[in-house]
């Protein structure tokens, strides 16, 4: 027996050199890995291009050009009665304030000895944003005692001047631009040298309401952020309990029959329904039938809830399904009821998965635009919605719709603002994902 084994020559070649078959197999494996690496590389490159283009275009939206002016708030113009009564003072419109700002700018230019050769009074006025008068008026009405004093203000510069400081507008483009002249840009240079014109962090971009086509420098995301936040509150409050309750019932209690199969198929289908269909549904049911107001976060929230529900139910059911049956048996075995077994053991174990699904569903809802267009959230809204719950019924905008809105506008200054709004949206999404990770860690640590 042993003799025969020794006599037989080894069937394969030496182990120290790979044979043809092995070489081919190894080559195939190397190719396979390379394909994977290329795929990952393409994905990362696409992400980098996307993010960098948004950051390059959008980061400038967070800085804005301001003019520093000492404005004499003339009592004769602003409060003829001398009573400092806000009701009386509010009769003075922005035109009255505009004149004071013009005067202040003129005085400043003269005091600093800046030459304004060839510029008309209107050219000088146009250096300032049309929003500036409203800015000053709001502050004065909030604090009537300022009247009669000379107060230093930081007023918005015109969008073109802002563009010049950011490099979007140049001397060459100004020649062809009917909204700004090269002389105005020279004046801007002179003002900047004197330190009267500077770029600061643009809080208004985050807090202010949207502004018209003509004053991009004043446009902000305040109303859109509030509207989106209100809608997220509604979506979270409605879809999390409904979704989790439905999932628990379907997964743990419902009998397996044709009806539950039908429901299951329909939930999967609903998750795949295009979001605009939910918009039409919302328009028909919540606005036309139920008579809820248009452009209101309540309608947006309800529509997004409908859209988010299947996207929460599916991962929640998967999370419940992944809890090992032995845990349920153990609980039933010590005499727990079905509900106790579910609430005490299955649900806590499924919690990380449920939270992840919920937050991903919410993030999708936050970025959803199409259904909101149909229910009127695309409207131009200048007024902040009130505090909840009444505020849910006030008109508001939404972040993704605001992005869509701004990209529709012709003034190039809205390009940076649209990108800036995307950055804000992405920051919100990042915060939500971070919350998801933190919550998941927290729940996992308990076990």
């Amino acid at each position: 027996m042993t003799d025969a084994a020794v006599a037989t020559p080894p069937r394969h070649g030496s182990l120290l050199s790979a044979d043809d078959r092995t070489r081919r197999r190894n080559a195939a494996e190397r190719r396979f890995r390379l394909y994977g690496l290329i795929a990952v590389g393409i994905a990362i490159a696409a992400l980098i291009v996307l993010l960098s283009s948004i950051l390059v275009n959008g980061s400038s939206a967070f800085r804005q050009t301001f003019l520093h002016l000492d404005i004499h708030l003339d009592e004769k113009v602003l409060d003829k009665s001398g009573t400092r009564d806000v009701a009386v003072m509010s009769k003075v419109t922005t035109i009255g304030y505009g004149k004071l700002i013009d005067a202040a700018l003129k005085t400043t230019i003269e005091d600093e000895g800046i030459a304004v050769a060839g510029l008309t009074a209107k050219d000088v006025t146009d250096m300032i944003s049309k929003e500036a008068a409203a800015q000053v008026r709001t502050r004065v009405l909030a604090d009537p005692d300022l009247v009669g004093q000379t107060v230093s203000f930081k007023v918005l510069a015109n969008g073109r001047i802002d563009g010049y400081l950011k490099g979007r507008v140049t001397q060459e483009s100004a020649v062809r631009d009917s909204n700004v002249s090269p002389r105005q840009l020279h004046l801007a240079d002179a003002l900047r040298e004197k330190g009267l014109l500077s770029r600061d962090f643009n809080w208004g971009f985050i807090t202010a309401a949207d502004a018209s086509e003509l004053r991009p420098e004043a446009a902000g995301l305040g109303v859109a952020i509030l509207g989106s936040a209100y809608m997220m509150i509604i979506v979270l409050v409605l879809s999390l309990p409904i979704g989790v309750a439905a999932s628990i019932y379907l997964e743990e209690f419902a009998p397996q029959n044709r009806w539950t199969d039908l429901i299951e198929v329909n939930i999967s289908n609903l998750a795949a329904v295009p979001s605009i269909v939910y918009g039409i549904l919302g328009l028909a049911i919540f606005i036309n039938f139920a008579g809820l107001p248009q452009s209101a976060p309540i309608v947006g929230g309800l529509v997004l809830t409908l859209m988010t529900l299947p996207r929460i139910i599916i991962p929640t059911r998967a999370a419940l399904k992944s809890v090992p049956p032995s845990i349920r048996e153990a609980a039933l075995g010590v005499g727990a009821s079905k509900m106790q077994s579910t609430l005490h053991h299955v649900l806590p174990l499924a919690m990380p998965g449920i939270l992840t699904g919920t937050i991903i569903g919410l993030a999708q809802a936050l970025g959803e635009t199409a259904p909101l267009l149909l229910i009127g959230m695309v409207a131009f809204v200048r007024d902040y919605p009130g505090a909840p719950p009444e505020g849910f019924f006030d008109p508001a905008a939404a972040l993704p719709v605001q992005v869509y809105n701004w990209t529709q506008r012709s003034d190039p200054a809205f390009v940076e603002r649209a990108s800036g709004a995307i950055i804000v949206l992405l920051i919100f999404l990042l915060i939500m994902n971070a919350v998801a990770i933190v919550l998941r860690r927290k729940f996992e640590r308990r076990w």
Binding site: Q256, S326, E329, A330, L332, G333, V334, G335, Q340, L349
Partner: protein, 265 residues
């Protein structure tokens, strides 16, 4: 031999705890248990043996209505616990399972602390009035399960961090913490090494003084070591049921003999 006789005497005097008459179990169209009659005495270890798929686990799960959780499973016949029909419409399975505890094949501690694992049953059944009583129940149960010495200093650590044998003893402690009257064990040692198995077997023998223990096992040696009565199942039929010593030394049915001697199964 005297020992054996003493055991036999104990068996004959013990009262009947569970009586099954004409039990049938169907899984959909499959007839899994065919007309089984068994009397399980109190304070005795009863072993169910038989080849895989013979229905011994299915029958065990009928005794605390764990089969209720399987939608396609139907149970016929009559099973009484202390004379009360456990399949009566008025019986709440939750109450039944508090009386008839169960230990499963694979150790399945809750992913919670050792303390919470044992305290869970008493808590949901309201067996304790305060924390001190609960502490006492936990300690007693862990002592009875021969685990107290190993875990008393780390009660707050997760039960899933214990070794396999410790986990199974934790599951036994959890089952006895609700002070059941019957303890069902479904192959409790099949996932354990021989040392852990010996510990669990020793424990089963001690538990006999307080509970009626029913154990399903694949190991005939184990049945012979721990049980006083043995039931042999084959293809859904109860082939033979009697004193363990009798079944293993002088089986009356040829199928039992073939199984015990290793010719079938």
């Amino acid at each position: 031999m005297d020992d054996m006789r003493a055991v036999e005497n104990a068996v004959s005097t013990a009262e009947i705890k569970i009586a099954a008459r004409g039990v049938q179990v169907f899984y959909g169209d499959t007839h899994a248990i065919k007309d089984v009659d068994v009397d399980i005495p109190d304070r005795t270890v009863t072993a169910f043996i038989g080849p895989s798929g013979c229905g011994k686990s299915t029958f065990l799960r009928c005794l605390n209505r764990m089969n209720d959780t399987i939608p396609i499973c139907r149970v016929g016949g009559k099973i009484t616990l202390d004379g009360e029909d456990i399949y009566d419409k008025r019986v709440d399975p939750v109450q039944l399972r508090a009386k008839v505890g169960m230990v499963f094949q694979k150790p399945n501690p809750f992913p919670k602390s050792i303390y919470d694992n044992v305290a869970y049953g008493p808590k949901i059944h309201g067996l304790n009035r305060n924390k001190a009583e609960l502490d006492e129940i936990v300690e007693t149960s862990l002592r009875k399960a021969a685990l107290w010495g190993e875990v008393k200093d780390r009660l707050s650590e997760p039960g899933t961090g214990l070794s396999g044998g410790q986990q199974q003893r934790l599951c036994i402690a959890r089952a006895i913490a609700t002070s059941p009257e019957v303890l069902l064990m479904d192959e409790p040692c099949s996932a354990l090494d021989p040392i852990a198995t010996a510990q669990v077997e020793e424990l089963i023998d001690e538990l006999r003084s307080q509970f009626s223990v029913v154990i399903v096992t694949h190991s005939m040696q184990q049945a012979a070591r721990v049980s006083q009565r043995t039931a042999f199942f084959h293809l859904g039929n109860l082939v033979e049921y009697g004193e363990t010593s009798h079944i293993f030394t002088n089986p009356s049915d040829p199928r039992t003999e073939s199984y015990i001697t290793g010719r079938i199964g």
